[in-house]
Amino acid sequence: MKLLLLLALSFTALAQNIKIEEPYIRLLPPSAPNTGGFMLIKNESDKDIKLISAESSLSKALEMHTMISEKGMMKMREVKDIKIKAKSSTSLKPGGLHLMFMGLKRPLKKDEKVKVTLKFSDSSSLDVEFPVLNK
């Protein structure tokens, strides 16, 4: 019985307390090797949750990045996770936190939808369709 319970727990649950709004991937020229993904992540639960990873078949690697401004220079750095506080939201937007699709396997097409799997610290996960937008 214990084993069963453990098994059940180890299956990733769907993240029901997390809502994603306005996800999009930025359309870039075919010669661009990378692109960014943006969205608003809402945490409707009463516990802080972290986005711990994102996966997609669009690029060789998918990382979470932030932009740091230092002495007038913008520095892009990888972050381990992105925190979404309880009953709050975190915005991934240009010039700040974003998903970084590194090494695009193919050129992007406007308005196509790209599936991204988001994994959270409460071991839940969420599949999100990101439209490719020119904005």
Binding site: R26, L28, P29, P30, S31, A32, P33, G72, M74, P94
Partner: protein, 199 residues
């Protein structure tokens, strides 16, 4: 006596090192006082042709230092500048030039930056030179950039860089520094204003 020495010597050493540290800090500070960049008449070779900033005297120029690996800030600025350009009338278009200079010449070949900028607006002029040359030119506009390796493997790097665009008047003099997060409306006003000024 020995005991006293044991205490005094480290204290003196700490005091001395603090003094030296302060000195280094203050030197660094003096060194860092920013001077207003004045720009320069740069020159780059493009497809066996020499392109100089002074070729565009009489036009308003928006200058941007960026690179194609940049997923975020560079395309935002290029796309904003391009959409403003597209809205101009024929006369204004003739009087306005967007110039893109890559800060990543190692990965950004000429064709790559041409294709890249064409996507935003075909009239953009994309320039590429050696790292040293680009650094020198960039510095005159107050733009700095350097490589950063997230992992210790030497292949993948990102570039930390100054992200403002520079608006130059018809005499190639710097008129505005435009922060990357400035709104499109404000940038449009700045450009239209500059286009109005017939000095």
């Amino acid at each position: 006596m020995k005991k006293v020495r044991k205490i005094v010597i480290p204290v003196v050493l700490i005091f001395l090192s603090l003094l030296i540290f302060r000195y280094i800090l203050s030197v660094d500070k003096d060194y860092n006082i920013p001077q207003m960049p004045t720009g320069s008449n740069f020159s780059f070779d493009k497809n066996d042709r020499k392109i100089q900033l002074s070729d565009f005297k009489g036009k308003v120029v928006a200058l941007y230092f960026g690179f194609t690996f940049c997923p975020d800030v560079c395309p935002s600025m290029l796309s904003t500048l391009s959409s403003i350009y597209k809205k101009l009338d024929t006369k204004q278009k003739k009087d306005f030039q967007i110039i893109f200079i890559t800060v990543d010449p190692q990965r950004d070949r000429q064709k790559k930056i041409d294709d890249y900028t064409k996507f935003f607006e075909p009239s953009i002029i994309a320039l590429r030179g050696s790292v040293q040359h680009t650094k020198r030119v960039a510095k005159t506009f107050g733009v700095n950039f350097s490589k950063y390796y997230p992992q210790k493997d030497s292949r993948n790097y990102v570039i930390d860089h100054t992200t403002y665009a520079i608006l130059l008047d018809r005499n190639n003099e710097i008129s505005e520094f435009i922060p990357h997060d400035e709104s499109g409306d404000v940038i449009e006003k700045l450009i239209l204003n500059e286009l109005k000024d017939k000095k």
